[in-house]
Each structure stands twice: as structure tokens, then as C-alpha cells.
Symmetry: C2
């Protein structure tokens, strides 16, 4: 008999069907055995009646056994129906139960209510824990988020390219890079597809990539991973940096709308509320943001080169109170604090046209306008003390005519963490890598409390 997905059983009342899946729960009541069966489409209760030929097999299986079950789909009596559960109004009267694979007794409670591991144990058992509905919900939301990003990019005529992982030199300063032994020569894992997306933009105008980036900062905070999924976009023929802001805002808005449409069950299960994006996200210059923080708290951060995490939290609280928005753009950072390619404001060249999008106190997105004029770019390369040879491919793209342009990047794990209110970014990565763990524990335990971890 053909397999019917559990999620489709409601269409087969009074019919004999065959399902395949896992034993999620077995409740042996002696004369009768009750089950919850699980497959990728949902859950259903099964009942093995006293005279069922499946009784012996039903006694022999445990949680996580893989089974094929034949039976009749019955409406449950009104008083036994569970309106809150999908398939809560039906049950499968089991006629035969075939074991497809056995399972060892579980090392911990995997039930919806009893699941409560500390994070280190959870990560040690990631393979098994991935079966838990709460953990599945996290990665379903993340998959929808990434898919919605691509979907919006394509709708706006952005071309998807594959940015490389192994890179010859490190154009970006700041964070440390991982070194690869490349046939006895030096190579590095990419920190960002930044220069590549700018290059490809000069050929395709609008480009995006979904792509791994790597950070070798020796940091074990709850906000750091060494390998993350970066959602990158770059667009040519902008009029000003606000065109980049507007495109990035529309992108985030589309992602939020899609999560609402596709992931409401997962969001509800995790008790997560999507952040509020109002019609026009408030945009503040760094100077304005600093003034606001000073006015609200008395803490004088005016003239600082950047916002620290505490500033970002406070600013978001102020903006939320004033406007109802969970989001705020901050632009106009000191030019010399940012990479060489960031566009300096024409009237106030000491400030640039880079921007960040903050959400609920955390940076979701960075971007802004870039320098497209080759002469200006070379001036910056020299002023930043860079070796033009190391970025010669990048420079060639701009030497032969590049339009005014800009772009932005989002981190998939950080967005997932923040949307779902997770305490540790490791929860938002299916196979998180940090300085102490690559699936197996390398040495120290993972931090599992956001509040006492150092920022850096």
C-alpha cells in the first residue's frame, strides 16, 4: 500500500491507510497500546485495540523506532478530541505494525514538555536533538528566512553568484582569519564576499549570494560563531546611499512578511514575536543617535567613533518608545574607522555613507554606499596603507568603469537568534562552530548565559 503522509490523514477518514514514521510516544495501558506517530508532515495518535493482530509488535517497539503502520483513520469521539493539536480530531486504529528500524533507549527526555538540556549537552547530541519539535522549529524558521531573502532578491532582478570560500589575501582588516594550508602556500577562509560582490556587480549590476564566511576571533561569547551564513547583496546605479537603505529595508520587510506567512506555527511553538517594522524605519546619523542617548540617559557618548552594544540597546529602546519601531538605521560613521571602500559623504568627508540596521538592540545588517570612482578608490587604498597588488582583481573591476553603487549583508544566525529570542547564537546554527567546538567538544564548555559573556 502507498504511504500516506500523516499530515494528510484528515482527508482519509474511514479509509485504510499506510503510514511510515517514528514512534514519538508509546503509552502501554496493558490491554491497549496508544501511540503518537511522527513523520515530516506531523503527528497522529494511534491505538492498538486488545484483539489487534498488531498487539505483539506494538509491545516490542519504543520511542524513536521507525515503523510502517497500517490501519483505519477514525474520527475521535468529541470528548477525546484535542482541538489544539493538528490531527487532534482523528486517530489511527492500528491493524499492523512493521518495525523498519530499532532505536536504543534515549539518553535523555525528548518529550515536548520534558526536554530541557543545558546547551553543551544539547550540542553534544545535536544529531538526536534535531528531532525535537522546538529544535526543528528553529531551523525551519531559518530555512524560510534564507529562502525569503533569495526570493526577494530574484524578484528585484538580482543575479545569484557563488562567492569563493578560499581566498588569496585578506583585504578586510579587523577580525582574525583562518589560514588554510594550500599545497604548501598561504590561503585564507573568506571573511566576507564583500570585494567579490562588488566585482560581480560591475558585470551584472545587481547581485546576491548566500554564502559561508569565517571569523577566527578567539572569542567564546554567546554572540560569536566562527562559521556563519552571510546573506549578501550589491547594486549598481544608485542615486544615493538611501537607495541602498531602502532596498535593504524592503528585503528585511519581505523576510518578516514571509516568516509570518510561512512560519507562524514554529513562531508560536517557540513563543516568538516578529519584530515590528513600521512603514518607514527611523534613520539617524551617528551624531543624532549619540545626542538621543545622551538626552535619554545622561551618558555622554557624543563624539564616539561607534555605538557599543549598550548604546545600541538604549538607542533601540528610545526609538521603540518614540515610534513603535523595533528597527533603526544608523549612518554616518567616521570615515577612517571603516574599510577603504566605504563612500565618504561629499559635504562632510570625515563621515561616511555606511549604515547599520539595528533591531531590538542588535545589529542585523551592515551596508552602505561604496566608492566607485577608480581614482578615489586608489587614494583610499594608499591612505589606508593597503597593498594594491593584493586586491588587484577588485581594482581592475573599478578601473574599467563602475557605476555608483552600494550593498548590504545580513547574518542568518544572528537574525534567527534575535527573531526567536534565543539566548545563545549556537542555538541558531545547526552545527555551530566556535573556538571550542566543531561538532565534538575541543576543550572548554560553551557559554550558556548571554548576560555575563564579554562583548567584543
Amino acid at each position: 500500500m502507498e504511504r500516506t503522509l500523516i499530515g494528510d490523514l484528515g482527508k482519509h477518514i474511514s479509509e485504510t491507510v499506510s503510514i511510515s514514521g517514528w514512534v514519538d510516544v508509546r503509552r502501554d495501558q496493558g490491554k491497549m497500546v496508544f501511540f503518537d506517530f511522527r513523520d515530516r508532515s506531523g503527528f497522529v495518535q494511534g491505538v492498538v485495540l486488545p484483539d489487534s493482530p498488531a498487539m505483539e509488535a506494538a509491545k516490542g517497539v519504543r520511542k524513536e523506532f521507525v515503523v510502517r503502520v497500517e490501519g483505519v483513520v477514525n474520527k475521535r469521539p468529541e470528548k477525546n478530541a484535542n482541538a489544539n493539536a493538528r490531527n487532534g480530531d482523528i486517530e489511527l486504529e492500528v491493524h499492523s505494525l512493521e518495525e523498519l528500524a530499532a532505536a536504543d533507549p534515549l539518553p535523555f527526555d525528548m518529550s515536548l514538555t520534558g526536554f530541557n538540556l543545558d546547551l553543551a549537552t544539547e550540542l553534544d547530541h545535536r544529531a538526536l536533538v534535531l528531532r525535537h519539535p522546538r529544535i526543528q522549529a528553529i531551523f525551519k524558521v531559518q530555512a524560510a528566512l534564507i529562502d525569503a531573502f533569495r526570493e526577494f532578491m530574484k524578484s528585484q532582478d538580482f543575479f545569484e553568484f557563488q562567492a569563493p570560500t578560499i581566498t588569496p589575501a585578506t583585504a578586510e582588516g579587523g577580525a582574525e582569519v583562518f589560514r588554510v594550508d594550500y599545497f604548501g602556500k598561504k590561503a585564507y577562509l573568506t571573511q566576507s564576499p564583500q570585494l567579490y560582490k562588488q566585482v560581480v556587480m560591475t558585470a551584472f549590476e545587481r547581485v546576491f549570494s548566500v554564502n559561508r564566511v569565517f571569523r577566527a576571533e578567539p572569542s567564546a561569547t554567546t554572540r560569536h560563531l566562527t562559521e556563519i551564513v552571510s546573506l549578501d547583496a550589491e547594486m549598481g546605479f544608485i542615486g544615493s546611499w538611501t537607495d541602498v537603505r531602502d532596498m535593504s529595508e524592503a528585503t528585511v520587510r519581505h523576510i518578516l512578511e514571509q516568516l509570518k506567512a510561512r512560519s507562524s506555527a514554529e513562531l508560536a511553538l517557540l513563543g516568538a514575536e516578529l519584530p515590528v517594522m513600521i512603514e518607514k524605519t527611523p534613520t539617524l546619523s551617528l551624531t543624532e543617535a549619540q545626542e538621543k542617548i545622551f538626552a535619554a540617559t545622561g551618558r555622554d557618548v557624543r563624539g564616539g567613533k561607534d555605538l557599543n552594544p549598550e548604546d545600541e540597546r538604549v538607542l533601540c529602546e528610545i526609538v521603540k518608545k518614540d515610534t513603535g519601531s523595533d528597527f533603526a538605521y544608523v549612518y554616518g560613521y567616521p570615515t577612517r574607522q571603516k574599510p577603504f571602500y566605504v563612500f565618504p559623504n561629499s559635504e562632510h568627508p570625515e563621515f561616511n555613507e555606511g549604515m547599520d540596521l539595528l533591531c531590538r538592540g542588535v545589529e542585523w545588517l551592515s551596508g552602505g554606499r561604496r566608492i566607485n570612482d577608480y581614482g578615489q578608490l586608489m587614494e583610499h587604498v594608499r591612505a589606508w596603507g593597503m597593498d594594491p597588488e593584493k586586491i588587484s582583481m577588485f581594482l581592475e573591476a573599478f578601473r574599467y568603469g563602475a557605476p555608483p553603487e552600494g550593498g548590504f549583508a545580513l547574518g542568518a544566525e544572528r537574525m534567527t537568534m534575535q527573531i526567536l529570542g534565543l539566548k545563545n547564537i549556537r542555538e541558531a546554527s545547526m552545527f555551530p562552530r566556535d573556538m571550542h567546538r566543531i561538532d565534538t567538544l575541543l576543550s572548554a564548555p560553551v557559554p550558556d548565559d548571554a548576560t555575563d559573556a564579554p562583548e567584543n
Copy 2:
């Protein structure tokens, strides 16, 4: 005035419009100047008439200058229309021409007819060469191919996951791996998401990933890259390995259909013909394939452990002649020649239920059924002399109940190369990495002739 995309100009006959793009060609005829302008949507001819206020600006720009142009869209006189070109029936009468960015004189001919670089030079100038229509066509086809893969997977209820790049140990034998200095500890770049996709399958049933994999073979043939894009799928609750074959065939069929629908212009430009997939792709056991090769050529390859590249070419020729199919599945390789997780045939355990899909003489896809029974898996782990500790996360997934399952993987660059008839796989990677090149040349030149390169 708002920008109009060049591809939309046909809808604006007799209107004044503003376009932005690159100077693709400038033909200065003294009294008049003719242009081809280019943007991401296409090409259009522009003409600057003798009394146009744009004449001075028109004299000052060259190929690859970035410009904003205002003018009137005119129907061309019938005799000047070019029916073969898009926008061949219109031209833009230029009223103003603003230079947005200058371009240095090009280092080589970038015209459609004059472009003829040797591959090493082409790769040295990848940033510039990406603007050429032939090169763009390659990566447009590749983007459509990858997108069609994801599209089909989603339509079949496969869940997209993000496989990690940095891995703790090397479960796969064979090809060499790249080592990463990971905070003073050993880590590697993934050769395949194989074990991860099997793990995630045990939670989500049907999973896929689009993902970088790395091969450190010290090989510089025309068929090797060190970094490739792998399209991976894995599915649970199969009845036999042929379910995996059928899903993989449907996937490839969808990709081919989508390329026909989305990429016909690019295929035509490159003179490429899509391979023929007949209604049911011929499937041969290794033994049958060897018999056929022996019968057709007299070369006795019977009893060999695998097909070599020459065997694959000959077999595809035979199948093509007999059935019209450019594709052929080969299954049933000697069990001990393949990784530990491949499922041995129950009746003939010396042969396994792994498979390859060949197309026009080259392997496109590998896959097959995997062992899902934990006991059998542990027997293989021991027989293959593996350390269970190094794959403990993988083993945990199977210890707690895993359904009968299988999967497959496709290489995006190899498919692109073969569909387009490219001579060197480096042409099918936007930023190809090989042992001698990571954007910049590391030492030796790239091979540019497939015939005299060694296979390995």
C-alpha cells in the same frame, strides 16, 4: 527622470527616456556618433545627431564608460532594422549624455566577435571578462541550474539545511583534504556534506543543501577544481535504491526543462545543446556495462572494480546509439571499493546499491542507498577500519532509529561545463581555485587542452 531599463525601451517608442549603463561600442563617424549601450537587461543602439547637445560628451567617452543618457526612442527605418538582435528595430536618439564613471582603455578586445583570450589571460582578468556576453551566459546558465535544483527539491518537500564547511575529522577516504589551523587545533575543509545530510535526514526525512566542498588532490587537469558547488539531496523511507535513482532522474529532468525554458538565449549564444533525457533513462549494472563495452570494442574490462573515463565515454556512446539517451545509470559497484555507508545488495552483498549517472561520457551524479540499520553500520565501520569516535555524531543519528534511505549529489561546475561543452572546468567557475591559482596565479599556467591532461 526615472531610469528605464534598456530591455524595456520597446514599450516607450517616441517617448523621451533616461537610461543608465555602459558604453559597449562607440563608432565615431565624425558628424554623427553611434553607440551600443548596455545594461543588465540588454543592448540598444544610440545615435548622436550632428546638432545634438550631447555631441561634445559623446566624443569624450570610450568603451566601458558608465553613462546616463537621455533621448527619444525611435523606430529604426525598415532597412536599418536588425531582426536578429533584441532592440534591433529601435534606436535611441541621444539628447544628453552624462558620464557617471570613466574607464581606462581596455587591455584586450572585448567585442563579441573579437574576444578570444587564452584561458590563463582570461582568468587573470576575470573581473573585466565577466562583462562579456559569452562569459555572462555561462554563469546565467549556472545560476538557473542551481536555482532549478532548489526549486525541484522544495517542490518535493525536501528541507534545505546549511551544511558546515569546517569539519573535525575526515570520514571520507580517497581525495586529500585541506587542513585549517583552527586555534592551534586540527580542522579540515569539508569534502562532502554526506554524513551531515544523512544526519539531518534522520530528523527531517527529506533534505537538501547547496554547498561548497573542497578537494586537495594535487591535480591540475582540466576537470579538477579545489573548490566546487555541490548540490546534495537525501531522502528517507525509500523502498529500494531505485527510488533514489528515480528522484535523482526527476531532479535532472527538471533542471534540463528549466534551462530550456529560462536559458535558451544563453544556450544559443554558446552554441550549446541540452543533453537528451529519454522517458526512462537506461540503467545498467556495472557487470552489464562491462559486457557491453567488451562486446562493442573487444576491450575486456569485465570484472574491473569501476569504469575508467574511457569506459564511461564508450558506454555513453553505446547507450546513445541504442536508445537515443545521453544519460545512463550504472549501479552495483563492488562493495569494498565504496565508502562504508553504501548499502550492500541483500542477495549479492559483494555488490552495493550505489549508482552513478553518466552524461555524454562524464559522471554527473553519484548516489544510492545507504545503510540505515545501526548494527550493520557498525559492522561496516569496523570492517572498513574506521574510528567510530571520529564519526560519533553521525552514528548517534542511526543508533536512535533511522529509516531506509538514500541520496545523491551533483556538481554544479561539472554539469555547467558539460551542458555548455566547455573545454576546461575553470571556465565553469566564476572564481576558479586550483592548485596553481586562487584568483592570482600561484605558480604554473592552467592547462587549456582537455585531451592531453592526465586523468586521476
